[in-house]
Amino acid sequence: MEQLICRNLTLGYENSPILTGLSFSVNCGDYLAIVGENGSGKSTLLKTILGLIKPISGEVLFADGLSRKDIGYLPQQTVVQKDFPASVTEVVLSGCASRMGLRPFYTKSEKALAAENIEKMGLKGLEKRSYKELSGGQQQRVLLARALCATQKILVLDEPVSGLDPIVTQEMYELIEGLNKSGITIIMISHDVKAATNYANKILHIGKEIFFGDKSDYLSSGAFMGKVNL
């Protein structure tokens, strides 16, 4: 079942396109890795999928009853957050904010959901701790728990392991794999092609050559070979 369809996208800012003629779709339960060199337009594509910027042409469609509110997003950390006074619970709960509409306060079930996701991400006992005092890996898990509060369907991850040490990176990948196995569709941006091909079942390679398809086809494709020989 297709959940997200991108049709003939041309991406970029103002009148300088970075990518043209990009089409791909994401099925329910997929683990799609978007790879490509720096500057190839990965972040631009991500922002377009999330609706933060508009494509120059083409369209991003949600199918299978999905809407923008069903997307969970794990962004890269911003400067603001490095010095932001917020407890773990406050950050995770804010994932529920989009579904509130004009209702001013969180319901009991939303608070329970936040507590559940905090536990799922192995953060139990840290609820009252300040976000900015946590380690990089813990902070990523807090943001992942927040994303899970926003959705149970589709997660968009922007370089989820950047800045993490090898052991924590491994843990993070396993955590994401577990979420995917529990039925959540994953779209992950990564410059780590090896890890991407390890975990994902679909690959979208963007750059001079564009490849979209199953992992096994990617491994024998020119786009992958070119990347490896670099």
Partner: protein, 281 residues
């Protein structure tokens, strides 16, 4: 000690002193609540810029001889807040330069107008009052007070009702937007409320000192507390206590209200800075 209480009791028999006290505390409360968001969003300079715009608008209002200057100052400042926020997103001139342009421009035009069309024989005193608040807090009419009270309650109510969304949009605007929260609408709301608070606060501390009222309590609270709710509550308490103390001190010592409140805020910041350093150790 008894004498101090007696002096205060004497003062508080007068309506205008009570008005000043009530208004001062409400404005301090609003400024502190919004201050937390403003500081965290890195919008402090916008608050500063808007206060200068409010000065220009007040000057225009003064020469039109309106009985209530807020009638002009409020819409102009709200409009500027919206413009600043809008243009910040896709600007040809960078945001900070724009704010600087707008604020010095408004200051210059305001001062020029006050001199070209003097409304009293002592222009310098008028300018000084608008810039530093001086004693204007004690000349509030009951109409002014009620406007302040009503608007303050509206501001506090908006803050409480939208507290969770304000947090979400302040902590991570992209996440909020990507998951379907209308973050532009909330940014707009925040900008409008800030403009309202600034115009209200002009009565208390004058346009040059408003920023202090907005940023000091938030920064003080952040030295000690590490979660958003605690920072917000603590900042509100600091601000209210400092405003109350400042007004009382200014009555007892005959010092200008605005700068006295800010001085108390600075002392409080020093205290919290030290407390924060001690806790960390």
């Amino acid at each position: 000690m008894m004498e101090i209480f007696k002096t205060l009791a004497d003062y508080f028999q007068y309506d205008f002193v009570v008005y000043a006290f009530v208004v001062g505390i409400l404005i301090a409360l609003c400024a502190a609540l919004l201050g937390v968001t403003l500081v965290l969003k890195r919008f402090s300079f916008i608050g500063d810029g808007l206060s200068h715009v409010a000065f220009g608008a007040m000057a225009v209002a003064a020469i039109t001889n309106l009985t209530n200057q807020m009638v002009i100052a409020m819409p102009v400042t709200v409009l500027s807040a919206i413009l600043l926020l809008r243009s910040g997103q896709n600007a040809k001139i960078k945001g900070d330069a724009q704010v600087a342009m707008l604020s010095v421009g408004a200051l210059a035009i305001g001062y020029l107008l006050m001199n070209v069309f003097p409304t009293s024989s002592n222009v310098s005193a008028d300018v000084c009052t608008t810039l530093f608040g001086s004693y204007s807090i004690l000349t509030l009419s009951s109409v002014d007070m009620w406007i302040c009270v009503v608007l303050s309650i509206v501001v506090v109510a908006i803050f409480i009702l939208f507290y969770n969304k304000i947090f979400a949009v302040t902590f991570d605007e992209n996440f909020a937007k990507a998951t379907g929260t209308p973050s532009e609408a909330y940014n707009l709301l925040i900008a409008i409320v800030i403009a309202v608070v600034i115009v209200l606060a002009m009565n208390l501390v004058g346009s040059l000192l408003i920023s202090a009222l907005i940023i000091f309590p938030a920064l003080s609270a952040m030295r000690v507390f590490k979660n958003f709710k605690a920072v917000t509550i603590c900042s509100a308490i600091i601000s209210v206590v400092c405003a109350a103390l400042g007004i009382v001190i200014s009555i007892l010592l005959g010092t200008p209200v605005g700068s006295t409140i800010v001085a108390v805020d600075i002392v409080a910041f020093g205290g919290f800075f030290i407390a924060g350093a001690v806790i960390k150790r």
